[in-house]
Symmetry: C2
Subunit: 339 residues, 2 copies
DNA sequence: AATCTAAATGTAATCGATTACATTTAGATT
DNA sequence: AATCTAAATGTAATCGATTACATTTAGATT
């Protein structure tokens, strides 16, 4: 692979001039540009990003941390991130935390060892505690945007883009209550994960406001997966008095729940109403189509990436949370309660 | 951020010694290791990957090219890639080609400009033609593994890991034939995409062998998405004599197809049997559960990454194709034809 | 203690681009 | 034509780690 030196030699100019050809071509006389251009073509040269990045102290890489690959909701956020990243000249590294089992400092170390310029957190691993404990050497965080709902106190005050998760779960629960449901179960991911915690808060708020007992079947154990949605639902259905409505912490759990309800010979929404979260593309074609809370994934992604760019560029950091709008999408998995 | 110089100074050794502490610690006397270790702790130093990578001429990054984010099948391949990448010290960059609209040379240039050490292709963009035309300067490819079925002649002879797509579609079609179906439509992605072309070949082979007419309703237009599965199915259902079975080029199309069939007041599999491809995790819980061809995604991912590592390390390249086994998963979306 | 040897450590070049500063050049002005 | 000025170009230091080769050191052997 040819270097800038060879190009310079061939073009009869200095390496500085070749470098300028790429970075500030308007500084060069046209005849010089032409010479350099030809030399580049002859040698097939392209800038060595390894050297450039080293010299500039910038990787042009950002890390997107997500709890699992292949989750449709995250894919839409990623699309938003990507479109902005492309425009800004960044490439995206993904870091799958396998349901948050990867500690954050493993991610932040990638920044401190100059492997990436910034981080967008889509999963809810907790940064502060780990980072602060980095040998007590820094209480500064890498450029970081938190783009998942999150009630974790660790994350409070960090730049973030998200829906109002409490309000969203509150709205969903209220909708079920308005349909006459009184026994409403909440199928959650592990409550230690902040997303689930926040959604639980909204659920509880609505239940309390309606003076409804918070069902002890509110089960907290599990990942936000189809499999765990099924497992928890099976348990729920085996209990003496089953709920008439299920609020699920995401659509995948809801789809799993609907499957189990139907397997048990019951009907959705005839016997049990189901609401999900995220409005993934499978929600529209499930049987019945799933009522859910939609999050504007692409918008969240775009805004997050803009925010991250500002932080990386050292512009005034706004630590405030950008709240984007959620929307209750009413489909056919919910119906009035039959009492 | 502190550099190796400061650590060296603090420890009272040379920078070479500090470097050895990280790379060949067994060369250092224990007392020296101790001194260096303390200096590292005091300064909070961590190796500058930008500098190290530049010096070593290696990025430790690979690019995974995929047609779209959030496709569950690709996610399973990614998991396989990731587990091996982690073991080998690589990080993963993703490049979404938005249904193959990104030309390959845009990806290969990332290699030639030293932004990545190698490429795994999960989408079926065609490398040769673009790369060879790189100003006629190189007919050599970047380290590359092709991990999608692909009948494209451009890709023949490249290192790859895949199922036998022709055989898989052949098996699926034969299964439908064995159930008594005679009018079998094939819902494909764009046939210009090699994956679809290969699957089409297997379908045609089985139809010919059974002396069945290849239905002109074999529609070739579309991406491998739910939306296009629906669109094509709607068209199919509006035709005078509709097929009794649908072979879909992937599960998402099949799920879309089932939804439209049910919307039209028909039953799956009562009126129309449906088979998908990939066995994504939604297939098991669809209504009815989807019969499909399973691909061992994680295995494909793992093998691909191993192969890529070998190529990057300059070991004897095996250009041969690793064929992994597919499997027909029979669920409830297929039934004997009612004639 | 002197000598030898292998292990440990240091010196300094190097990777390839960028860029501050210095120098040259082209064209304008007298 | 001489002088001036701004634009164009060149020189050489620099980013931070690695490593070939040189030197020093510790401990063994005489």
């Amino acid at each position: 692979m040819s270097s800038i030196k060879e190009v310079a030699k061939r073009a009869g100019v200095s390496t500085a001039t070749v470098s300028r050809f790429f970075n500030t071509p308007e500084q060069l006389r046209e005849s010089t540009q032409e010479k350099v251009k030809q030399a580049i073509e002859q040698t097939g040269y392209s800038v060595n990003a390894l050297a450039r990045n080293f010299r500039r102290g910038k990787t042009n890489l950002i890390i997107v941390v997500l709890p699992a690959l292949g989750v449709p909701y995250f894919a839409s956020v990623m699309r938003g991130i990507e479109s902005v990243a492309k425009a800004k000249g960044y490439s995206i590294m993904i870091k799958d935390t396998q349901f948050n089992t990867v500690p954050f400092n493993q991610v932040s170390d990638m920044f401190f060892s100059r492997q990436a310029d910034g981080i967008i957190l889509l999963g809810s691993i907790s940064p502060y505690q780990d980072v602060v404990s980095r040998n007590g050497h820094t209480n500064s965080l890498p450029p970081l945007v938190v783009s998942c709902e999150n009630a974790s106190p660790d994350l409070a005050g960090l730049p973030s883009v998200r829906i109002d998760g409490i309000k969203a779960a509150f709205d969903a629960t209220n909708y079920l209550i308005s349909l006459g449901h009184r026994k409403i179960a909440f199928i959650s991911g592990s409550l230690s994960q902040a997303v689930s915690g926040e959604r639980e808060a909204g659920y509880s708020k609505a239940m309390k406001q309606a003076k409804l007992a918070i069902h002890e079947d509110l089960i907290t154990d599990g990942h936000l997966t189809i499999e765990d949605g099924r497992r928890i639902t099976r348990r729920l259905l085996n209990q003496p008095s089953r709920p008439t409505a299920l609020l699920c912490a995401n659509d995948e759990m809801a789809l799993g729940a609907m499957h189990e309800i139907k397997l048990a010979g019951l009907s959705v929404p005839g016997d049990i109403s189901v609401i999900g979260f995220d409005d993934i593309r499978y929600a529209e074609i499930s049987d019945p189509p799933l009522t859910t809370i939609a999050q504007p994934g692409e918008e969240i992604g775009e805004k997050s990436m803009y925010k991250l760019c500002n932080i990386i560029d050292g512009q005034a950091i706004d630590n405030k949370t950008d709240v984007v709008e959620h929307q209750l999408i009413i489909r056919s998995s919910t119906a009035p309660a039959v009492l």
